[in-house]
């Protein structure tokens, strides 16, 4: 391969983060247009299964860097390896998912290589034989195209920007990258590690999100129980407005919006949320927005496609009952 698009595959405990496959499949498509191959970079301890998966999602080459002290992400060794892989594969592009780690890894590689970066990109395409990225700034209020002036193009790409591919029977090469990850040279030490609750649907990956707001105020505990029940019936992630978080109804990790998470599910159901600008900044790009609010004049109805004007304490359980009938 003379020219490649290198995609970092984030992993936890050997398990690949699934939105990286969206990116890998997109890279394959871009590679065809650019006449470039696609290489997947896996860094970790035991990445054998993920490497095979990467091949099935379209990687021509998997570059695997493994060592027991690489099990957990640490920027210093990971960035050194990624830089080595960029050189080794002759990468014209280095792509990561725009997770917390993907974001810093992309930025660090770009800065070190003095390469252009498109952070939190939501689209990638080829124009005149070069990669171009689309993203928004001013919290979703201005769109822009980013053209790269450097030989290497770097982008961190938001989850759910591209469709999830189906794995296929494919062949690809797995190459082990020699790494010198001497623990004495790595400054940062991890003294305690707690994995997130398995089973909980993550907001940024979710196809469906059901969120609750200050509208639950008359009985917050009951309100979020009802909203949570609707979410689990629908296999959805549970979201919240800042007002609900600030009032202590639900932990911050559920917050959607300007100072919470940016999400773009296929379906967003807002229960008792007024639709403040800062909330819309986080979920305005959802494909279909449904609002349940007892005030017909709430601004959320200007963005929603479907609405029910009624008390959420009655409506939400009725929806849960209806969907559990249909989704049986």
């Amino acid at each position: 391969m003379t020219m490649t698009i290198l995609v970092w595959i984030e992993q936890n405990d050997g398990q690949a983060v699934s939105n990286c496959w969206e990116l890998l499949a997109k890279a394959k498509e871009l590679g065809r247009e650019l006449g470039a191959g696609v290489a997947a970079l896996l860094i970790g301890n035991d990445v054998g299964a993920a490497a095979q998966q990467a091949v099935s999602y379209g990687a021509d080459l998997v570059v695997a860097a493994t060592a027991s002290n690489l099990a957990h992400f640490r920027l210093q060794p990971y960035a050194a390896i990624a830089e080595q892989a960029v050189e080794r594969t002759g990468a014209v592009a280095f792509l990561t998912n725009a997770s917390i780690r993907g974001g810093v890894l992309a930025a660090t590689i770009a800065c070190r290589r003095n390469a252009g970066i498109a952070a939190n990109a939501t689209d990638l395409w080829v124009e005149d034989g070069r990669l171009v990225a689309g993203r928004t700034i001013y919290s979703g209020n201005i769109q822009a195209r980013i053209h790269f002036e450097s030989p290497l193009a770097v982008a961190s790409v938001r989850p759910r920007s591209f469709p999830m591919p189906a794995p296929a029977d494919a062949t690809g090469e797995v190459e082990n990258l020699y790494v010198d990850a001497n623990e004495d040279d790595i400054r940062l030490k991890i003294s305690d590690f707690r994995a997130a609750d398995a089973g909980e649907v993550s907001l940024t990956d979710a196809h469906i999100i059901v969120s609750g707001g200050r509208g639950v105020a008359e009985d917050p505990q009951k309100g979020f129980e009802l909203v949570g029940a609707l979410a689990s019936t629908m296999g959805a992630a549970l979201g919240a407005s800042r007002a609900a978080v600030d009032a202590g109804y639900i932990p911050y990790k559920h917050q959607v919006g300007q100072t919470g998470k940016t999400v773009r599910p296929d379906l967003y159901i807002a229960c008792g949320i007024s639709g403040a600008i800062q909330h819309l900044a986080g979920m305005g790009n959802s494909k279909i927005i449904v609002a349940i609010n007892k005030d017909a004049d709430a601004p959320i109805f200007q963005r929603a496609k479907y609405g029910i004007v009624d008390d959420l304490f009655k409506t939400v359980p009725a929806l849960t009952a209806e969907f559990s009938k249909r989704l049986k």
Partner: protein
């Protein structure tokens, strides 16, 4: 140990939708400018560290000439000093020029006394990148912690902190110097006191310009086709039924037809 905190002056979030393409292109915004909300957490943490460890704190902001309101806010909250970096030093350059200028300012700030800890917010509400602190860490050659929810302790030059990512949470130890981007969970930013505001209004804020900082040119990207995303003209369909059960059934019908469930 001295602490520098990087803050950006950004539009009031409520006014972001009013920002026009022309304004975004020229950088001359009509909006009310405030301290980037994510950076308030970094300022609060700096003040908290100075209470805990007795360090000197300085806020640094790169921006247009005279753009010092965010720095005044940080001073009013309680940081010891503030430094403004004139945007002309980066000569229209990119993120890496900004990072280099901020890294150089960190080296100069705090009266030449070594800064060993740089704090930053999570991202700017206008740039939305979350890359500047990574660039600063890279230019300084320091370690970087992101999404830090607690600085547990600093013992014998080693910082212990908790950081969160999508897959979990970890406690890490790293020798200073280090750059830290803080998460919202880390603290509750204070409101400036009346005394603080008075003090800040009288404070002299030095500016570092081209003569003070040596920053190389960096233009790695070209931004084109700035435009406002058309707000999709969705006409909401409100389900009118005799009962909530009826409305729920109508909504379920519509969503099944859309094939989203």
């Amino acid at each position: 140990m001295n602490v520098a905190v990087l803050i950006k002056q950004t539009p009031d979030t409520a006014e972001l939708p009013k920002v026009t393409v022309a304004e975004a292109e020229s950088g001359e915004l009509q909006a009310t400018m405030v301290i980037n909300p994510w950076d308030e957490f970094a300022v609060e943490e700096a003040i908290d560290l100075s209470d805990r460890f007795g360090c000197e704190t300085v806020a640094i902001s790169l921006g247009r000439q005279g753009e010092v309101d965010a720095l005044k806010h940080a001073l009013a909250m309680g940081v010891d000093g503030a430094v403004h970096v004139d945007e002309s030093v980066i000569d229209g350059g990119d993120e890496w020029a900004t990072a280099e200028a901020l890294a150089a300012a960190v080296k100069k700030a705090a009266g030449g006394e070594d800064v060993e800890l740089v704090l930053a917010g999570k991202m700017s509400v206008d740039g939305n990148s979350g890359v500047i602190y990574a660039g600063v860490a890279c230019k300084l050659g320091w370690d970087l912690l992101v999404n830090v929810t607690r600085i547990v302790d600093i013992v014998d030059g080693t910082l212990i902190a908790e950081q969160v990512f999508e897959g979990g949470q970890e406690t890490v130890q790293v020798p200073l110097p280090v750059v830290i981007s803080v998460a919202k969970e880390i603290n509750e930013p204070r409101y400036p006191s009346f005394m603080g505001i008075r003090k800040a209004s009288r404070a002299a804020i030095p500016t570092l310009g081209r003569d003070d900082l040596d920053v190389g040119p960096s233009h790695t990207t070209r931004w084109t086709d700035l435009n406002k995303p058309e707000p999709e003209d969705v006409q909401v369909r409100i389900f009118e039924g005799a009962s909530v059960e009826e409305k729920a059934a109508q909504l379920a019908d519509a969503l099944m037809a859309e094939r989203v469930i």
